[in-house]
Structures are given as structure tokens and as C-alpha cells.
């Protein structure tokens, strides 16, 4: 099927790449189908794009890129909604806010997205017991990360090209739970 998006143009999506977020994201409870989009180059960001709302897309990063000690403790309700039997099926992403000045970008470590890659189910979990910030500045950490790897924070080409990330168990490694 073709998914219209305001940032990435038209994307060709197959049914098995669609992720369901049964309760929606907080503040977006009516939107429950998403796909993961990535740039085709070595830039870091992934995007969680709503299938039926072209303008809604959340930038995501693996939290280990800027918070090495990050640990997510799931409650029983989280596991139930995610139908999670084995933590190896889970992948955690931090939701990033990129303002007009991208060097002021922040990560929400209090309420990350957890994806059960086997069932293609996701939930935005709230980490009750852990004292993580909702807005943590991360740009300097990403610059440091990119300085030691071959990756870039943003795409290097003016011609942005994007692709759908197939949801498979491969993306679940390494899950830090």
C-alpha cells in the first residue's frame, strides 16, 4: 500500500511492516498504525510515521547513543499490552523533539517507545520509578558519538531519500531492558 507523508513523500509499505500501538501515543490516542522510516545514508534518526496522518511523525533514536546506562523497567501492564514473552523481542527507542535550531534537540527518557518486533506491537511506556527527564539535551553527546563512528547526525545529501525499515527480529538486538 502507498502511505502519504508530509516529510518523506509517498512510501510503499507492505502490511507486515506496520506497527500497531493499541492505545496510541499519549496525546495521539486515535492514531494506532505506524511504520518506521529511515534515511538511506548513515544518519542516525529513525522516524515513526503515522500511516493515515501524513503530518504526524516522531523522530526516534536508540537511547544508548547518548545514555549508556539507560535501563527500561516494564510493568506487568506493559508486558501484557505488548504481548511480550521474551525481552529479546523488544526494542526501545527514545522520542526526540527537534526544534528549529536542531542543536537544541531533546530526548524524552521518561516515556520511551517499546516495540515487540515479533508481534509488531508497540507502547509508549512511562517509567514511574526511574527519575529520567522528559527533555534531556543530547546534541553534544550525538556529536561525540558521530566523531568516533562513521555515522552522521543528519543526512549529508540535499536529496533526501528514505526507506521503510522492515520489522524483524534482527532490529531487536541489542535490547537493553
Amino acid at each position: 500500500m502507498i502511505v502519504e507523508t508530509s516529510r518523506f513523500g509517498e512510501l510503499n509499505v507492505s502490511e507486515q511492516d506496520i506497527i500497531t500501538i493499541p492505545e496510541g501515543m499519549l496525546g495521539f490516542s486515535k492514531i494506532d498504525k505506524y511504520v518506521l522510516v529511515e534515511h538511506t545514508d548513515d544518519s542516525l534518526f529513525l522516524w515513526l510515521q503515522a500511516v493515515k496522518k501524513p503530518s504526524v511523525a516522531f523522530p526516534l533514536l536508540e537511547p544508548q547513543l547518548f545514555e549508556l546506562q539507560y535501563k527500561v523497567e516494564l510493568c506487568d501492564e506493559d508486558r501484557k499490552i505488548l504481548q511480550l514473552e521474551d525481552l529479546k523481542q523488544a526494542k526501545v527507542f527514545a522520542i526526540i523533539t527537534i526544534p528549529n535550531d536542531p542543536s537544541k534537540m531533546t530526548a524524552n527518557l521518561k516515556a520511551p517507545i517499546v516495540v515487540n518486533v515479533k508481534k509488531r506491537l508497540a507502547r509508549q511506556v512511562i517509567l514511574h520509578d526511574q527519575d529520567y527527564p522528559i527533555r534531556q539535551a543530547i546534541f553534544a553527546d550525538l556529536q561525540r558519538h558521530c566523531a568516533t563512528t562513521q555515522r552522521t547526525i543528519f543526512p549529508q545529501s540535499e536529496e533526501n531519500t528514505y526507506q521503510i525499515i522492515p520489522i524483524s527480529e534482527e532490529i531487536a538486538i541489542p535490547a537493553e531492558l
Binding site: L26, G27, F28, K80, P102, F154, P155, E158, N160
Partner: protein, 76 residues
């Protein structure tokens, strides 16, 4: 909205399995104890609201072109 008056140590029962106790009253602050099944989601409302707000900001993030990044980094 149902409004009830309670004294220190008194309880409100909701359904068969939720209890809210007034634990302490100090000036304008009230401490409440809540007993509820594990699956009941209980949060200070402002945490919910600030995560909703942050999600809205995150969903407005735009992709960034190299030119734009270079311009901003030069300016800063």
C-alpha cells in the same frame, strides 16, 4: 464531579478494589495513600500532561537538510 468531605485517616472506596486514604493534611498540601490493583495506572496528572505536550512538540519535528544545519551551526 462528585465532591466528598473526608477527615484525616478516612477513606474513599472506588469499586471493590480501589481505596484512597487521607494520610496527612498540612496547610495547602494533602497526602493521599492509594491502594489499587497493579494494572491501574496512577500518575500525578502533570506527568501525563507534560508527556502529551512533549509528544506534540516531537511530532512537529522536521527533517533537517545539510544546508540548514550548516547555517545554524555557523550562526551559533
Amino acid at each position: 464531579m462528585l465532591v466528598l468531605t473526608r477527615k484525616l485517616g478516612e477513606t474513599i472506596a472506588i469499586d471493590d478494589d480501589i481505596k484512597i486514604v487521607v494520610v496527612q493534611i498540612k496547610g495547602k498540601q494533602v497526602r493521599l495513600g492509594i491502594e489499587a490493583p497493579r494494572e491501574t495506572k496512577i500518575h500525578r496528572e502533570e506527568i501525563y500532561l507534560s508527556i502529551q505536550e512533549e509528544n506534540k512538540s516531537a511530532a512537529e519535528s522536521q527533517t533537517t537538510s545539510p544546508k540548514k544545519v550548516a547555517k545554524i551551526l555557523r550562526a551559533s
